[in-house]
Point group: C2
Chain length 125, copies 2
DNA sequence: ACATTATTGCGAATAAGTTGCAATAATACA
DNA sequence: TGTATTATTGCAACTTATTCGCAATAATGT
């Protein structure tokens, strides 16, 4: 299952790298200058997630958003769970540099955390 | 827009009251002894949410789950944001009595928080 | 240059949730 | 108790997000 370099992969990755926000499939499709098939975009994104290049956020709208958390300098910070903020006004999702802290009852094992705050961001208020 | 009492409404509400977990539409449909239409269940649930009887959680699977947070004694606690735990093994979601604490950058207004931890619960591990 | 196989595009399928509309039934009020 | 009002329901169709099968294409190693 070796990965290959393709224009599609490059394009999606660059878009995510340059974007300050988490993007959905259709946002990615719209912002790309080259036409890439819907299913392909999903497959590329799912591969990125599997390879830990990108993390997936599921928002209250039930949609998936994908982000490379650039701001986090080191790898540990990337993998650490953090809050996400979804602005209802500009309909974007961004990674906040706010770690998610919690405790769970005895015997519970946490594998992942999906935390999204919803409201209005600074730009829109 | 006055609310009316109907068998459907009673049945769904009782199910949620007796359940210790958050339920999805199809879980509710399966657990009900009377047959209720899919769309109707959604409409009942959406009404409950609007009336603040029930809160809606969107899990990583993109699906909506609905819960009455019985454990919380007082109303304030019900309305307060708390973590939810989704067990991958028994495919349930439950409200944890763990409040969500966070801070947001200046100028950000938070209206809602949707926080779901995923893993394996005590019963399943 | 060639074989291997990862990747892509297309179309169809799946699944969750919503909506329009006509029929039904809960409530208020005479 | 009877009737009008309108909230609620069931059905079918629709929308939207995501996945999947399959055949065609193209990256990579030798």
């Amino acid at each position: 299952m070796n990965r290959r370099n393709t224009p599609t992969k490059e394009a999606v990755l660059n878009l995510l790298l340059n974007s300050k926000k988490a993007l959905s499939q259709d946002a990615i499709e719209n912002q790309l200058d080259i036409k890439i098939n819907r299913a392909t975009i999903y497959r590329v994104l799912n591969r990125f997630c599997k390879d830990d290049l990108v993390h997936r956020i599921v928002a209250e709208d039930g949609k998936q958003y994908f982000a490379i958390c650039k701001k986090c300098e080191n790898q540990a910070a990337v993998l650490q769970h953090h809050f996400h903020f979804r602005c209802l006004s500009c309909d974007t999702i961004e990674c906040l540099q706010v770690p998610v802290t919690y405790s769970v009852p005895n015997g519970y094992r946490v594998q992942n955390a999906n935390c999204v705050l919803t409201g209005v961001c600074n730009d829109c208020s």
